[in-house]
Amino acid sequence: MAPYIAIRNLTKSFGKLDVLRGIDLDVPQGEKLSIIGPSGSGKSTILRILMTLERPTSGEIAIDGEPLWHMRNNGTLRPANKRHLRAMRAKVGMVFQHFNLFPHMTVLKNVTVAPRHVLRLSREESEFRAIQLLEKVGLSEKLTAHPAQLSGGQKQRVAIARALALYPKIMLFDEVTSALDPELVGEVLNVLRDLAQETDMTMLLVTHEMRFAREISDRVVFIDQGLIIEQGPPEAIFSEPAEMRTREFLRAILGEQS
């Protein structure tokens, strides 16, 4: 079966800094994939390019056979225009490290704004769906609260509901627990765990929560200095990593987390 997400020789440079130096990655539909690696290794950049927030320097990405940053034109590929990017974006949702909730909107409005304005659903329908999603993340009692009244964990759960409200095929989670106080990490991970188990969405997680990655992932990719160093089932990566750099990274980070 053709991979749902196909990334070929993806590179990204910010000026002289080469953040991604040739990433090849196939993700089958429904896979729960964790991307781990040291800070600055380029893991978040992969997600940001998939969300079309960052333009790749070179390489090709296809989602469901459709090029993401390019358009087919008489058999040749040319750079995607705005309309193509918007159409492709509809398949992808993203949750950010710093939540990025809209502070001037209530929780309910945060979750209904995209269904209303992008999917053009009626108010009733978008609210009905939003309430279901907020129930799922355990926040149906906070509909009229503003983000400033919520804890970090609650904010992140609203952000997850907000992204889900567009029913994306692919969800990207960019270090979604890194900005949280330690005691609030669990409630967000619980939501992610349920999502991973209950849905057939393709999920890509950039995370430093190694135990969690091991528990929910179908596959783990270790990235360092813009390259995929090693990948495989979580058991293999965490128990017997083949590469020296993977071992060093895991020793350092697990030493911290135990």
Binding site: R86, P103, A114, H117, H146, A163, L166
Partner: protein, 219 residues
């Protein structure tokens, strides 16, 4: 003649002053948003047009602008009433400063906000109007208050293009009564009181928004 007898005449002048302040503010708000957003556009000619407007009106004397619109424009066949001239010129003037306020406020909104809006697939226009503009509005209120007071004070210039504003009435009264100290003293007090009311009004609006959004440090 007691000081109280000055009041009716000054109040009728105050009406003209407030009309010009209100009308000018309306023109200024529209122009400030248009020019401020145009300066952030990806489209070069639009940026250039906005920058030209802003620099032209910031870089020349408001009084000369008034004279030009009132005395020179009719020579090109465009005749405006003195009131319309005052509202348009003062609006253009304050709008030029306001454009910088709008631009600064929009730029001050965290990039994560527009990224989140993009990730939700909102169009560029909706990102701006639904997500960025309301947050920018709150940050604009304090500098907008300063500009509003600038506008109020600069309305005194229209006494020089035949309008019977507060300052003009004061000049008349002084000529009639020769009580220079009292008349001009009263003018200062009236301008000051109006400025205070405007300041309080804008502070209230700011507090109200902060409170509605439950932002920390709602002042």
């Amino acid at each position: 003649m007691s000081l109280f007898e000055f009041i009716p005449s000054l109040l009728s002048g105050l009406g003209v002053t407030l009309t010009l302040t209100g009308g000018g503010a309306l023109v200024a708000v529209v122009l400030a948003w248009l020019a401020g957003l145009a300066r952030l556009s990806h489209f070069g000619p639009l940026r250039l047009a906005a920058a030209t407007y802003v620099e032209t009106f910031r870089g020349t004397s408001a009084l000369v602008q008034l004279y030009w619109f009132f005395y020179a424009l009719p020579l090109f066949g465009i005749e405006l009433s003195a009131t319309a001239t005052g509202i348009i010129v003062l609006g253009l003037n304050i709008g030029a400063y306001g454009a910088e306020v709008v631009r600064g406020a929009v730029l001050s909104i965290d990039r994560g906000q527009s990224e989140a809006a993009a990730a939700l697939n909102l169009s560029n226009l909706k990102r701006l109007w639904i997500v960025i503009a309301p947050q920018a509005l709150l940050r604009m209120l304090p500098p907008a208050g300063n500009l509003l007071i600038e506008l109020l004070k600069s309305t005194a210039l229209v006494s020089l293009i035949t309008l019977n504003d507060l300052t003009f009435r004061g000049m008349l009264l002084r000529a009639e009564t020769l009580r220079t100290v009292e008349v001009f003293g009263l003018l200062l007090i009236i301008y000051f009181c109006v400025a205070q009311v405007l300041t309080l009004g804008l502070h209230a609006a700011e507090r109200r928004l902060s409170k509605a959004w439950h932002l920390e440090g709602a002042r």
